[in-house]
């Protein structure tokens, strides 16, 4: 119980620090958000970005998924054949 209280205190302290920093920071934002969301889909723009600018991360991501798959299957597979 004591542990949980300490953990809670640590977490709250963390939240307080981060929230204080967020509130006191002047964020740079565009003046006006695009109001009519139905009008413009950003799916296309994201797709274009993924296959142009971020093509390398995208390719590496494929390796990540494959690696995670191999690793997960290997670890989760039970070896009781013999």
């Amino acid at each position: 119980m004591i542990n949980k209280a300490i953990n809670g205190a640590v977490a709250l302290l963390f939240l307080a620090v981060v929230a204080l920093a967020i509130v006191t920071t002047t964020w740079i934002t565009v003046d006006e958000l695009p109001q009519n969301l139905a009008d413009q889909s950003n799916i296309e723009a994201i797709g274009v970005q993924i296959f142009t600018q971020f093509v390398i991360p995208f390719e590496v991501l494929s390796l990540v998924l494959l690696g995670a798959l191999i690793g997960a299957v290997y670890i989760a597979k039970s070896e009781v054949e013999k």
Binding site: N7, V10, A11, L13, F14, V17
Partner: protein, 670 residues
């Protein structure tokens, strides 16, 4: 100058011998002993030739330097100071190696022994040859490592392993001080040049360092409210390294324990290598000490106190090697005392001290080798179980006698008759008198003269207890083989005549050290920086002062003779015959013994016990405490690692939080 170009072989050959013996020694005759012997013999010949060359043209020093990488330099410097050290180290080491062929003949681990002693010699030669302080430090560490290996040579014995560890840890305290000194020196030099170091300063060559003494001396810092010269701090830290290596108080605790190794190792450590490295370091950087106010005074006091302190303990030891160990500490104290006297005699102090170093190397190597010869034959190190060894081992006895006379410094003042120790030790005591005369402070002189009396007592006590009288146990010894007695005889001749032969030449030769084409300093100017008032042309001490050392020497001999020679003879007769008259006689002697003990010796004895208590309990305790404390702290901290992963996560998150708060505070302040 052909021989100069071979200078690099001096440390290299023993190092190569180490490699060869270490890997192939097993298959060779006597564990490959001939390889290090040959290598060191060649090094010795080269060193002697170079030194002779140097004697003829003292202004041409050997200086070669090979840059190794960006800011490091492998350099060789042989000036008179290094030259005499080289000759001594190679020569004594050679004799000890030859002797070890006989002494170690029954040990199965001979290849390892010879490999390690060869490396030890190579490292020591590296210390002597260095032309810069970094290389010196590296070799210095290597010497420490080898001493660890050699003291713990019989690692099966727990006491040997413990002694090795103690030697390693204790000298490391000094090494850390030395290294701190180098770092502070480096950063001070950096400040002097304001960050733009010219090429070559980086490597901390001695000549470059010495050129900067005025600037360093002008830098000050405040410690505990008083203004201290930067140079004083640096030199005292260097001296701290020397204290560790040369077994000065309070870091001497490792030296007596270092006897756990084979006796030849003790001889090597105590006479030729290792312990003299500290004295050499102070001599090598002597111009810096000259320019540093108060540094030499500290050196003198530490040295003088060590000389006295260690000699009191020498009196109560029963282990023959331990007596010699305390004797070494005491004699090293004399050397430091001699160096400290640079405060009045300037450059001459180096000559005086180094002269004693060389003579001491001869007679101390001889003492150890004789002791080794006795132990080899008798099979015990306890003097109470010996007695009458002189009859079975006449050569050893005679050589030991010569060495003892040299250690006690017997000779006739005003003539050229005397043992080597007489010339060198008396010179130190005379300079301390001069110091007293000059400054009104006779404490160093009292240290010196009392230590001389005690020295004489303990060494003749050893001689009488071991070699005279009747055998107290049935040890059945025999004279040692010629591979052991020949080195003994050579050393005995040197211990007898070296001082008389070389005295004046030696001083003149060494005085050239700091005024030739590599290192050029003006001691007079430096002494002004260091606030020391030098005396020139000092002569005409009172006759009593001249004779004083020899008087106390003879007094010590007589005291030992009365207590340890006559008493022993009588006691055995009384006990066996139960004769009343003899008993009475014995009782008179007994009273006499009590009288002397109570009046003159009980006090010393008590002091020695107190000293030993301080030594064993407090100083050992502190040093052990530091290492145990670190381990204990480690034991506590490792418990933080509970093995529960949630607590690790808590640590990470708390770490982030604390770091944010810490940075917030610090960045706000800045």
């Amino acid at each position: 100058m052909a021989i100069d170009s071979l200078a690099f072989l001096i440390p290299l050959l023993p190092a190569l011998a180490f490699v060869i013996t270490f890997f192939f020694g097993k298959k060779m005759y006597s564990g490959g002993a001939l390889i290090p012997i040959g290598a060191i013999a060649i090094s010795c010949i080269i060193s002697i030739l170079i030194t002779i060359n140097l004697l003829q043209n003292p202004e041409v020093v050997v200086h070669q330097s090979y840059p190794w990488f960006a800011i490091f330099n492998l350099g060789i410097l042989i000036d008179p100071l290094a030259g005499v050290m080289l000759c001594m180290v190679t020569f004594v080491s050679l004799l000890i190696h030859i002797y070890a062929v006989g002494y170690m003949s029954h040990d199965p681990a001979k290849p390892r022994y010879f490999a390690e002693t060869a490396l030890f010699t190579a490292a020591m030669l590296g210390v002597v040859l260095s032309d810069n302080i970094l290389q010196l430090f590296i070799c210095w560490e290597l010497v420490g490592l080898c001493s660890y290996l050699l003291i713990g040579f019989w690692y099966q014995k727990p006491s040997a392993a413990a002694a090795a560890k103690k030697a390693f840890l204790t000298t490391r305290v000094g090494d850390v001080m030395f290294l701190t000194g180098i770092i502070i020196l480096f950063s001070s030099i950096f400040t002097i040049y304001n960050g733009n170091l010219p090429e070559g300063i980086y490597v901390l060559q001695f000549n470059e360092m010495f050129k900067l003494i005025p600037e360093l001396s002008a830098m000050h810092t405040t410690i505990l409210g008083s203004e201290v010269s930067m140079l004083t701090i640096i030199t005292l830290l260097f001296f701290g390294g020397a204290v560790g290596k040369s077994g000065q108080f309070p870091l001497h605790v490792w030296l007596p324990d270092a006897m756990e190794g084979p006796t030849t190792v003790s001889a090597l450590i105590h006479a030729a290598t290792m312990v003299t490295a500290g004295v050499y370091l102070v001599a090598r950087t002597f111009p810096m000490f000259m320019g540093a106010p108060d540094a030499l005074i500290v050196v003198a006091y530490v040295g003088g106190f060590t000389a006295l302190f260690a000699s009191t303990m020498g009196i109560v030891m029963n282990d023959i090697k331990r007596v010699l160990a305390f004797s070494t500490i005491s004699q090293l104290g004399y050397m430091m005392l001699g160096l400290g006297m640079g405060a009045v005699v300037g450059m001459e102090a180096v000559g005086v001290s180094m002269f004693h170093l060389i003579n001491h190397a001869f007679f101390k190597a001889l003492l150890f080798l004789c002791a080794g010869s006795v132990i080899h034959s008798v099979g015990t190190q306890d003097m109470r179980q010996m007695g009458g060894v002189g009859k079975v081992m006449p050569i050893t006895f005679i050589t030991m006698l010569v060495a003892s006379l040299a250690l006690a410094g017997f000779g006739i003042p005003g003539t050229q008759i005397g043992t080597s120790g007489f010339f060198s030790k008396d010179a130190i005591i005379e300079t301390t008198y001069l110091f007293g005369e000059h400054t009104g402070n006779y404490i160093p002189y009292i240290f010196g003269i009392v230590a001389a009396l005690l020295t004489s007592i303990y060494i003749f006590r050893l001689l009488f207890m071991t070699f005279t009288g009747k055998a107290r146990t049935d040890y059945g010894g025999h004279e040692s083989p010629s591979s052991m007695t020949v080195p003994l005889s050579i050393l005995a001749v040197l211990a007898l005549i070296f001082g008389a032969l070389t005295q004046t030449k030696f001083y003149r030769f060494l005085d050239e050290t700091f005024i030739n084409n590599f290192v050029h300093v003006n001691i007079g100017d430096l002494a002004e920086l260091g606030n020391y008032h030098l005396v020139h042309g000092h002569h005409g001490e009172p006759l009593l002062i001249l004779w004083m050392p020899i008087i106390v020497g003879v007094a010590g001999l007589l005291i030992s003779f009365l207590i340890y020679y006559l008493k022993v003879v009588d006691m055995s007769k009384i006990v066996s015959r139960n004769n009343f008259v003899f008993k009475l006689l014995y009782n008179r002697y007994y009273q006499h013994h009590i009288f002397i003990e109570v009046i003159s010796l009980q006090l010393t004895y008590g002091l020695s016990l107190v000293g030993e208590f301080i030594d064993r309990k407090i100083i050992d305790g502190i040093i052990d405490g530091i290492s145990d404390g670190t381990i204990a702290i480690g034991e506590i901290i490792r418990k933080i690692q509970t093995g529960v992963v949630q607590s690790y996560a808590t640590a990470v998150i708390a770490g982030v939080g604390l770091l944010i708060i810490l940075l917030k505070l610090i960045v706000e302040v800045q």
